[in-house]
């Protein structure tokens, strides 16, 4: 075939030769103003996800005899003028230098988005960082923060508009933020919170939760005390019967608590045939910690060179690195988000989590925050 588009054949070829000149002419005619360097969507993304920012402890409030709330404000001295917006249920991480170690810990935000953040920390027996927060951190201290992160948020397209929150102990922290958003009409949903604790005095945010119930018909709270009997409170543990007693229609279950709490709630929800879709939970270590204590040598390769550390068989690689002050990217810390994704160059490891990409598995990438050594190792950090 012979294609002809213009009237004269030769003209078609001339059009081809002219393409280059046309382009050049258009370029010459273009304005010579400085090239735009900021685009609205990029600015929006940067404001929502600034990467890192600095916070200062503005206030500290005692919640229960082992829980404190820390109010955080933007640390202008470090160049942070405001804190990024987040979705209720999300967390930030704080970087904590302690001794020769450098620790990054995730903290759920315990109120809905405002000018100041608040995080709530429970003192854990032998917990190095929580004890540090409890004993040492003072008003005015500053931290490098990252985030906000996390998918433990209400998603109206996916979730039922009735939520049952199954909460154990400090699991109330992100749930309280979600409840606050419901009260403030930022989330169009109804929530019944079944909140388990040992005694009445162990309940965190009792005053706030009671206030929510009073002012907002969309929030219901049932306290379940395992070590105290009291009028107006359920006694015992959160059970299938208890859930059935308080839920009305079909629900999304938002589960948050300690590892054993997750395990028992999962069992109950399975027995109730609740589809996966309706079970949301905050990220948690979904596996058991191995028992052996044998020590292994770990050779770490990164942009700053090589470093040798040791790691016990029941210790995560992340944990061992943090003790030695090795800075490694970290978000969730429980194997789910994959931010610490690193390459295993040599050796055998125990990985009990299922959040590694298929191709990553094939090429021996691991998530050090939830990986245990089985032999001496060489690993390559991402940066």
């Amino acid at each position: 075939m012979k294609l002809q588009i213009s009237k004269k054949e030769q003209q078609d070829f001339e059009t081809f030769y002219a393409l280059s000149k046309d382009r050049e002419i258009c370029f010459h005619q273009a304005n010579k103003k400085p090239i735009i360097s900021n685009y609205r969507s990029n600015d929006l993304a940067r404001n929502l996800h600034p990467g890192y920012f600095w916070v200062r402890i503005k206030d500290i409030k005692l919640e229960t005899n082992d829980t404190k709330t820390f109010i955080l404000e933007a640390d202008r001295d470090h160049g942070t003028n405001r804190l990024p917006r987040f979705q209720a249920g999300q967390y930030i991480t704080l970087q904590i230098p302690l001794g020769k170690g450098m620790y990054i810990r995730p903290y759920s935000l315990s109120s809905s988005f405002k000018e100041h953040y608040q995080i709530t920390i429970k003192r854990v027996l032998h917990g190095k960082i929580s004890t540090y927060f409890w004993n040492t951190v003072r008003i005015g201290d500053t931290f490098l923060a990252r985030g906000p992160y996390g998918n433990f948020v209400y998603q109206p397209i996916r979730d039922s508009e009735h939520i049952v929150a199954l909460v154990g102990g400090s699991g109330i922290i992100p749930i309280k933020a979600i409840a606050e958003d419901i009260v403030n009409n930022k989330i169009a949903a109804k929530m019944t919170i079944l909140y388990g604790a040992k005694t009445k005095d162990d309940l965190i945010f009792r005053t706030e939760l009671n206030e929510y119930v009073k002012t907002c018909s969309n929030i219901k709270v049932v306290y379940v005390l395992s070590e105290e009997k009291k009028d107006g409170y359920e006694h015992g543990f959160i059970t299938r019967d208890l859930i059935l007693k308080y839920q009305e229609t079909s629900h999304s279950y938002f589960v948050c608590g300690t590892i054993p709490f997750y395990q028992s709630m999962n069992k109950i929800l399975k027995s109730m045939d609740v589809p996966n879709k309706y079970i949301r939970h905050d990220s948690y270590m979904e596996h058991d910690i191995p028992e052996f204590e044998e020590k292994f040598d770990i050779l770490i390769l990164s942009s700053t060179g090589e470093q040798k550390i040791s790691c016990k068989g029941n210790q995560t690689l992340m944990d061992a690195m943090e003790h030695e002050g090795v800075i490694i990217p970290k978000k969730c810390g429980v194997g789910v988000c994959g931010y610490c994704r690193s390459k295993l160059i040599r050796g055998e490891v125990l990985t009990n989590y299922d959040y590694v990409r298929k191709a990553d598995k094939k090429h021996h990438y691991i998530h050090p925050c939830s990986t245990y050594p089985l032999t001496n190792l060489i690993i390559q950090l991402p940066n």
């Binding site: 075939m1 030769y17 370029f27 304005n31 360097s37 993304a45 991402p382």
Partner: protein, 513 residues
């Protein structure tokens, strides 16, 4: 230590560029701001689903016997056996708001027959279309592969290529008298380019359709992340280095010559040659010291229009594809067969056009049994999203738009998926801006239209080099966006860098002589 070259960005272009150079014995460092290779060519996990971030279909591959340029590229990259690709069984499924349905097979003859069924008397023009597309594809390949294009040879061997590539899709299809309806059915794929038929050069459209229908479409078994990782592994096996979480913030010069880059956090890396996988617009405006920005750089950036911005909804469904009636892999859904109207609707916040893929139709085991991965993607062909979205309304707006597309999908296909949504992730232009770093969440580079179509880009490429020892690759470079194009652009940038290196070595020889 000083590297021979630094590659900014580990997207398709950057990875391929780095591998090509490293294989030639050069010491290359890749710097990427994220913690993963691949840029848009990646995957992510939510619950029990591993989603593909961008790829709908790989073109230009084919089979061992009948293969296209992508097959050869993988071979040159020495990863042909490392990535497992699966062939699609059907090319397009088109459905309109008024219930017209068009389903196309692979293979030219079958494709033409099918079109004749849908649009009687389209056969002759369709035959001509494929014949022309073949010549255009061959001419384009000739142009791509020759070091210096000999126009006389081009005119002699591929006259139709020269003519067709000077005009828009619309002009060419009209000139071969393709019935309007057949044109519109073909143009339902305008979304692959984000440009309507009156603006897009016939070359881009013809090479795409020709390749797709003759070589078939492919999808990697472990998402595009598998290709990105294979390229990276190969690069590392040749001794190349990569640093993740290293966003390049500044170029460093010595005596007006580029000599390195600085990354966030303050580290500096040195090399005399740079390959940029990021757009000239961002490169010149943010990495280059202000006083070095020239009028030439300004006109090169200011004369362009940004291409389409992406909006994607990733759905993990808790029922099987068959159970849900999702019987096709690639859905082109449009309210109106008139693609110009679809294009215009994409200038508004709630477009009436989307492309959806059901990954399980290509890869039955890509998610656990009785679940489905469905991705709905649409485009913005204007600044509307960035004008409307604010920090305050961002999450609500994303949900509203996603809701619109889910409704649109359900209404147009007459299927119900909403109840089965177990996982959902929504990527807006701001999300793409965050992960790719490109202006305003552009996913296809500069808009291919008029003087900014592929052929004029290629013709003037040399004159548009504004900085010595810097070459561009990726979706904003001369080969447009898309998987093959961006990989190929990386290879080309590497070859140009090698030439620069050789030329200078030659100079040095002269001096020592």
């Amino acid at each position: 230590m000083k590297y021979d070259a630094i590659v900014i960005g580990a997207g398709n272009g950057g990875l391929m560029a780095a591998l090509t150079l490293q294989k030639e014995g050069k010491e290359v460092l890749i710097l990427d701001s994220s913690n993963m290779p691949g840029g848009f060519a990646s995957s992510f996990i939510r619950g029990r689903f591993e989603f593909e971030t961008s790829l709908q279909v790989l073109l230009d591959y084919g089979t061992e016997e009948n293969h296209g340029p992508f097959y050869e590229l993988l071979k040159r990259a020495e990863i042909l056996d490392e990535v497992k690709l699966k062939a699609l069984s059907e090319s397009y499924y088109v459905k309109t708001g008024d219930n017209q349905e068009y389903i196309f097979p692979f293979g030219q003859d079958d494709f033409i027959l099918k079109m004749e069924e849908y649009v009687p008397q389209s056969k002759e023009s369709m035959k001509q279309f494929f014949e022309l597309s073949k010549e255009v594809t061959e001419g384009f390949r000739y142009m791509n592969e020759s070091k210096k294009v000999d126009v006389d040879e081009l005119k002699e061997k591929y006259p139709n290529f020269m003519i067709a590539s000077s005009y828009s899709v619309k002009r060419v299809l009209e000139s071969i008298k393709m019935p309007e309806k057949a044109q519109e059915i073909l143009m339902t794929q305008w979304g692959t380019f984000g440009s309507p038929s009156e603006n897009l050069s016939f070359v881009s459209f013809a090479t795409m359709i020709y390749s797709y229908i003759t070589y078939g479409g492919y999808i990697p078994v472990m998402r595009s992340h598998e290709i990105s990782l294979a390229l990276l592994e190969k690069f590392e096996s040749y001794g190349g280095s990569i640093r993740f979480l290293s966003r390049v913030t500044k170029l460093i010069f010595e005596n007006d010559k580029i000599c390195g880059v600085r990354v966030n956090g303050g580290s500096t890396y040195y090399a005399d040659h740079i390959i940029s996988n990021i757009s000239p617009s961002i490169f010149y405006s943010t990495l280059l010291p202000k006083e070095m920005q020239t009028d030439r750089m300004r006109e090169i950036c200011n004369a362009r229009t940004l291409g389409a911005r992406g909006f994607s909804i990733f759905l993990g469904l808790n029922r099987s594809a068959n159970d849900l009636g999702l019987n096709h892999y690639r859905y082109f859904l449009t309210n109106d067969l008139d693609h110009k109207k679809a294009y215009q609707s994409c200038q508004e916040l709630y477009p009436n056009y989307c492309v959806a893929t059901v990954l399980n139709q290509a890869l039955p085991n890509c998610s656990s049994s009785d679940t489905t991965i469905l991705t709905i993607t649409s485009l913005y062909t204007s600044d509307i999203f960035s004008e409307e979205a604010t920090e305050e309304n961002y999450y609500d707006l994303k949900n509203k738009i996603a809701n619109h597309f889910i409704d649109f999908f359900e209404k147009t296909t007459n299927l119900s998926i909403r109840e089965a949504i177990e996982e959902i992730e929504i990527a807006s232009p701001a999300t793409f801006a965050r992960y790719g770093g490109h202006p305003d969440g552009c996913i296809y580079g500069y808009m291919p239209k008029g003087y900014d179509n592929v052929i004029p880009r290629m013709m003037n490429e040399v004159n548009e080099n504004c900085l010595m020892h810097v070459h561009f690759c990726g979706g904003f470079a001369s080969r447009l966006s898309g998987y093959f194009n961006t990989y190929f652009s990386g290879e080309l940038a590497a070859l140009k860098t090698l030439q620069d290196m050789k030329r200078e070595e030659g100079d040095e020889d002269e001096i020592t002589d």
